[in-house]
């Protein structure tokens, strides 16, 4: 009797299961994108994380943009610009732009967008990107004038990331309201935002570049990589971010899906502790480590070819890139010789400080390669907050080597090698006066030739002293429905306006 009851229960349960149907409402103009996490806030000035940016980039327009193919800086809200003096810039604001509530977008809004970031009380995480700006004013409704404290060559690159908010709207609403109910001039407007779950956007028919071809886009927060892949396979999402090279095979094997990939400006690197109590203070040991790493093998075998070995900390798209830099060859014999010369013939132990945020396969693969030349690497992993605390400590007692992936979202050497290696920078465990002079000079002039020369000199110092080993340029992988037409851009901006979703 009891057994029968249980059986009946199970049958009912099964029927209920079978009856519930899966599948999203899929029309040709609705797109679901799986992000790696939830937006922190949709106020463009209040955060600095990719998940937020991916969403609000579609709601707001930025002052400038990069050409998807060449990465050259072009106008978006601004149509043209000129540096009328080394510290004064003038931007012409496009005519006829409107916010989604119908009010016109003028230079005053652009000025306000910058001014609010510079307000220390506002506490914008982006302050550090714009703090060379002393003032931003609308000299007339279509002209924005920006003054900087010193000649700031990276200004344009930083303005590529500046979203324009409506001064009136922001001043009329309090901060949490602006964060939760963004109002921009972009291709999409926010319909609903269920924190932790999804943000739904709808097309703005009056967008100045024309009506978006995709009517609705939903950004979902899916932290687990395997689940994002499953979402693609089950049709719950048509685009998924943050896939690994091992997922590539799964995507490519599925006839309904396609793998999209694009080189980014992120450079993977190893950094050495040259200032602290570490065997890596000795330049020969550093060179031994550099010679022991077979970057090509790592890029090919471990990352499936989705990584481009580099010879310096910059990609060819970066301002300041010098193609004359030699880089390092894989030479384990030389490595062993250098170790013997520096007194470590009997073996050497190094502490590799890292965090689960970084791909631990890469960390372990590096450990494996160093083991081949007799360097015993001990991995110490901390959660990311603790990791940052450790490596940024001025005592330089964080260990011996660390792995990282650097991007300044600015495609400029000033955003890469300056923070990584300038004396006193919290990221730097290296100090060289010649290097400091070169990068300081390069960031105080707008003259491209001077900058080039100085960066060439700076990169030569890095090549000789090896405070770190540049590994490869990261290639971002996306999984998508076969009907999605989109080319990923090097700045990794998810601009839905540029996408189409066919049958």
């Amino acid at each position: 009797m009891l057994v029968k009851r249980i059986a009946l229960l199970l049958v009912c349960f099964w029927l209920a299961l079978a009856g519930a149907h899966a599948g999203p409402a899929f029309t040709a103009t609705a797109l679901t994108i799986d992000l790696q996490g939830d937006p922190a806030t949709l106020d463009p000035a209040k955060q600095y994380d990719t998940n937020s940016y991916d969403v609000y980039r579609n709601i707001y327009d930025n002052l400038l943009r990069r050409n998807p193919a060449t990465s050259a800086i072009e106008g978006e809200v601004a149509t043209s610009w000129k540096a009328v003096s080394p510290t004064v810039w003038r931007f012409s604001i496009r005519q006829g732009l409107m916010f989604q509530d119908g009010t016109p977008l003028t230079a005053a809004d652009a000025a306000w967008s910058i001014t609010r970031i510079l307000d220390r009380q506002f506490n914008s995480p982006q302050y550090g990107n714009f703090n060379t700006i002393t003032s931003a004013t609308a000299t007339d409704p279509q002209t924005l004038t920006i003054e900087t404290a010193r000649p700031y060559p990276v200004l344009l690159a930083q303005l590529v990331n500046l979203s324009i908010v409506s001064a009136k709207y922001v001043q009329a609403h309090d901060e949490p309201d602006v964060a939760a109910h963004p109002m921009g001039s972009g291709a999409y407007r926010l319909v609903t935002w269920l924190r932790g779950d999804h943000a739904a956007l709808a097309a703005n028919p009056r967008f100045w570049r024309g009506r978006p071809r995709i009517d609705e886009v939903t950004f979902r927060a899916v932290p687990e990589d395997a689940t994002r892949v499953a979402d693609l396979q089950s049709g719950r999402a048509q685009l998924a971010l943050g896939l690994t090279s091992d997922d590539a095979a799964t995507i490519k094997a599925n006839p309904k899906l396609q793998l999209l990939s694009g080189p980014t400006e992120r450079v993977a690197y190893l950094a050495f502790n040259t200032l602290g109590p570490s065997p890596l203070r000795d330049a020969r040991v550093r060179e031994a480590v550099a010679d022991a790493i077979d970057t090509r093998a790592l890029a090919q075998s471990l990352l499936g070819g989705y990584a481009r070995p580099v010879r310096e900390f910059l990609t060819s798209a970066h301002v300041g890139y010098d193609k004359a830099i030699a880089g390092y060859k894989y030479d384990p014999a030389s490595s062993k010789r250098l170790l013997a010369e520096s007194g470590h013939a009997g073996g050497l132990t190094l502490v590799f400080t890292t965090s689960p945020t970084y791909d631990q396969r890469i960390v372990q693969a590096l450990q494996g390669q160093l083991a081949q030349v007799g360097i015993n690497v001990k991995i110490q992993s901390y959660d990311f907050g603790t990791y940052l605390q450790k490596i940024q400590s001025p005592q330089h007692d964080w260990g011996d080597l660390r792995f990282g992936q650097w991007s300044c979202a600015c495609l400029d050497a000033d955003g890469v090698i300056y923070p990584l290696f300038h004396t006193g920078s919290i990221w730097s465990s290296f100090s060289d006066p010649a290097f400091d002079r070169a990068v300081d000079a390069a960031r105080s002039t707008l003259d491209a030739a001077t900058r080039s020369q100085n960066y060439a000199a700076a990169l030569q110092v890095l090549q000789k002293d090896i405070p770190g080993l540049p590994l490869w340029q990261v290639i971002a992988l996306y999984g998508a429905d076969r009907g999605l037409r989109w080319r990923p851009t090097p700045d990794e901006q998810l601009f839905v306006f540029d996408m189409t979703l066919g049958g």
């Binding site: 519930a20 999203p24 302050y127 949490p176 089950s234 907050g385 991007s407």
Partner: protein
Amino acid sequence: MPAGCRRDRPPRPRGGLEDRNAGVTRFVTVRLLQAVIVLWGVSTLVFAIARLSGDPVALMVPQGTPPDVMARMRHTLGLDRPVYEQYGRFLLGLVRGDLGTSYVQDAPALRLVLQRLPYTAELGVAAFGLALAAGMPLGVAAGIDRGGWVDRIALPFMLIGQAMPSFWTGLLLILVVSVDWHLLPSSGSGSLATLILPAVTLAWLSLATIARMSRSAVLEELDRDYVRTARAKGVAPRRVILRHVLRNAALPIITVATLDIANLLGGVVITESIFAWPGIGRLALEAIQSRDYTVVQAVVLVGTTVFVLASVVTDVLYSVIDPRIELGDTSA
């Protein structure tokens, strides 16, 4: 018992309902006061642990940000104040019901937690309900039919669930049920269909405990005198068991339920991450990883409040169901 031979415990209230109610009220009041102390203790512990564990500003800013900018940000957030001052402010806020603003999400911390609490509650209730609906009949059947196929085969099979880490079961379910069979959505929330897989994953953990509990409860009952008497009289033991067993099993099951709530916040974190479920488990994980102290404190406080209240309710229920148990004698 002969007069004069006193036992070492307070006399049981002899009166009727009135006396009983007075006892319950007193008990509840005492427990609630103790609950406040527990809450204070937990929030202080969390406050200390959070601040020991690192700096939220470093995690919020772009990679090239200079230290003086970060220092200034810390100052604006009040994070460079002496610890006792921050603690004082925190306590004052607690009393007023203001748990601060999230550093990361720029919204009141308490509101963020309360917005997502219903999702975890929904998942938890569904999971517990499932575990009960599947575990109890199974355990009872195994106990009655001791040594039979249910006891030997079906029960251990179900117990496997507790032997598998939930991220494994969850991902397997997604792969099989969603990707291969296309029966249910692979992630997210919003409909009953999306609730099923995460609830099953979470339920499978509690299933074993409930099944086991029911089985031992049944086995205990079967040994009792009244069952033997009933058998001797010819009454169908099944009816007897069902009526009495269920009443006696209710007690341990209620205990399991309260213990489960604490377990729940732990196990739910992984389930919510796997299924992209927007509950407070995931919120807690993300807040901890980004050192968003205010949100971490808010989640812990809300979770503790729920747990402690549930504890009190359990204890009262305990005594109501079994009048032999005195309030204040239970371990919870």
